[in-house]
């Protein structure tokens, strides 16, 4: 069945509003019917009020924005680390069969281990320092960067590689000046997946191995049965995650536009 997309943007908007209204009414309904004890399910407007007060009033030592900032900083470290290792390694694997053979079995066996599974070791190795969350984010963000770089580079038209070789390019030059630029669209697509997974894993890590950050704020909220704080954290996660994705999508568009010209 094909979607007949005959609706104008106003009608599309109407459906979106309707969807949100439906969701909120179910939520209000659940609160009114006391599906769970009252303190376990805050109502939407209570969450909104809490969310705005968290912007100015610190909870667990920081305001919401400061928690977000510290989460984002960890995310950035882990994400950049994944990029700095994933891209060169992916290119190297595409270029050298032996590197591929060396890395692939190991990589395949750890990539199905959920990033969260590294939390116990993150805690043991790094305590509540920045290393723990960064390790967990890295474990989430690294595989997509590596895989997409590798796939992008392995599918580079052979004629470019042969041209570079006959012009006297060595391996490093081949990687940096041929494989990398040719694989950029695939790499950028990988970065989007990677950022999403990294950001999700971060919150999981912060639930356990942090003393600041959105995840930490949520744990503290739960411990003091302030569910409106937990919910505020969830909203913040969603918004920041969306913002990261929109940012990367803009980069993706920029790259493909540049490619077409």
């Amino acid at each position: 069945m094909m979607h007949r997309d005959s609706l104008n943007s106003q009608q599309v908007m109407m459906y979106s509003v309707l969807g949100i209204a439906l969701f909120l009414s179910v939520w209000y309904g659940a609160v009114a019917l006391e599906v769970t004890p009252k303190q376990f399910l805050p109502s939407p407007h209570e969450v909104l009020i809490k969310l705005s007060s968290l912007l100015t009033q610190p909870f667990s030592g920081f305001t919401l924005l400061a928690h977000i900032a510290s989460s984002f900083q960890r995310f950035l470290y882990g994400f950049l680390l994944a990029i700095c290792i994933g891209i060169p390694l992916g290119l190297l694997m595409a270029l050298s069969k032996n590197t591929d053979r060396l890395i692939t079995p190991f990589f395949e066996s750890i990539r199905f281990v959920a990033p969260i599974a590294w939390v116990p070791f993150a805690a043991l190795w790094f305590g509540t320092g920045i290393g723990g969350p960064v390790l967990v984010i890295f474990m989430g963000a690294f595989p997509p960067v590596l895989i997409n770089t590798y796939r992008g580079a392995i599918h580079v038209d052979k004629k470019f590689i042969e041209a570079a070789q006959m012009l006297g390019a060595g391996r490093l030059r081949l990687m940096v000046e041929v494989l990398f630029p040719a694989a950029i669209p695939s790499i950028v697509a990988g970065l989007r997946i990677s950022a999403g997974l990294g950001w999700q894993s971060l919150i999981g890590a912060e639930l356990i191995v942090a003393s600041s950050g959105v995840g930490y704020m949520m744990v503290k909220g739960q411990a003091s049965i302030q569910t409106d704080i937990v919910m505020s954290g969830m909203i913040a996660i969603g918004i920041i995650g969306l913002a990261i994705d929109i940012g990367l999508r803009m980069i993706e568009k920029l790259v493909s536009k540049y490619r077409e010209n």
Partner: protein, 260 residues
């Protein structure tokens, strides 16, 4: 001295678990600064011959020597001009032309000077900052020729370089290549399936047979060209009208026809 020697060269490929002989035993020498064109039906292995000299593929038997050294890998002493240009689309004309010089480790000043000379020679001044997709097919192939010539290679390998161009552009490029090759002679191995092109450009034309690919006949064009003074005509169509040219062309056509 950069001659090309095919010394007992054979090349077979395995296809569906079976080996088939793409190029049968070949012994042949392209002399230093000689322009040799190979013509033959598609699938006769002419491109395979060029790819072995380039070092993209290794012979199954025998060796190829260039300037006395056995070919084992691609290198800037054997510059290749591909049918599909193979310019780096993410690099400008200048960066494409200087790519090989950079790999040689030349200074930026030296690179730009040498590139500028070549870019002028192929008539692309003013397009240094353009990207390949902004250029026509003929201009792109000029960039590829400049990129190869700029390395000052002993050997130039051209794999149907004008095959992807329209007829008019092709003629212009053929005339320019003749000028370039006469002014600045190199050892050239030129692959084509266009007989006129081979006779017009080459000193000797090799006719290849199919399955297995063999160097069946070698025709000396240079002798006739000098005797009949073809080079006094600067336009290809004038050369093509000469009875000596027509005769040679039909002789090669006949040889090719026997391959089918």
């Amino acid at each position: 001295m950069a001659n090309i020697v095919f010394d007992g060269v054979e090349k077979s490929f395995s296809q569906g678990g079976k080996d088939f002989l793409a190029v049968g035993e070949t012994n042949f020498t392209v002399a230093d600064k000689e322009f040799v064109a190979i013509v033959g039906p598609s699938g006769c292995g002419k491109t395979t011959c060029l790819r072995m000299v380039a070092g993209f593929e290794a012979p199954s038997k025998g060796v190829i020597r260039v300037g006395g050294g056995i070919v084992t890998a691609p290198g800037p002493d054997r510059a290749v001009v591909f049918q599909q240009f193979a310019l780096f689309p993410w690099k400008t004309v200048l960066d494409n032309v200087t790519f090989g010089l950079k790999a040689m480790g030349l200074s930026e000043q030296e690179r730009n000077k040498r590139a500028a000379d070549l870019i002028t020679m192929v008539g692309l001044e003013g397009y240094e900052a353009a990207y390949p997709h902004q250029l026509s097919g003929g201009m792109q192939q000029r960039v590829a020729i400049a990129r190869a010539y700029v390395l000052d290679p002993g050997v130039l390998l051209m794999d149907e370089p004008f095959g992807a161009l329209d007829a008019q552009t092709r003629v212009v490029m053929q005339e320019e290549l003749v000028k370039l090759a006469r002014k600045n002679p190199r050892t050239v191995l030129f692959i084509t399936h266009a007989v006129e092109e081979a006779v017009y450009l080459a000193d000797r034309v090799v006719v290849m047979s199919r399955r297995p690919g063999l160097f069946k006949e070698v025709i000396d064009v240079k002798k006739l060209r000098i005797e009949e003074n073809w080079d006094q005509h600067s336009r290809i169509e004038d050369v093509m009208d000469l009875s000596s040219f027509v005769h040679l062309r039909s002789q090669i056509w006949k040889l090719l026809r026997e391959q089918h």
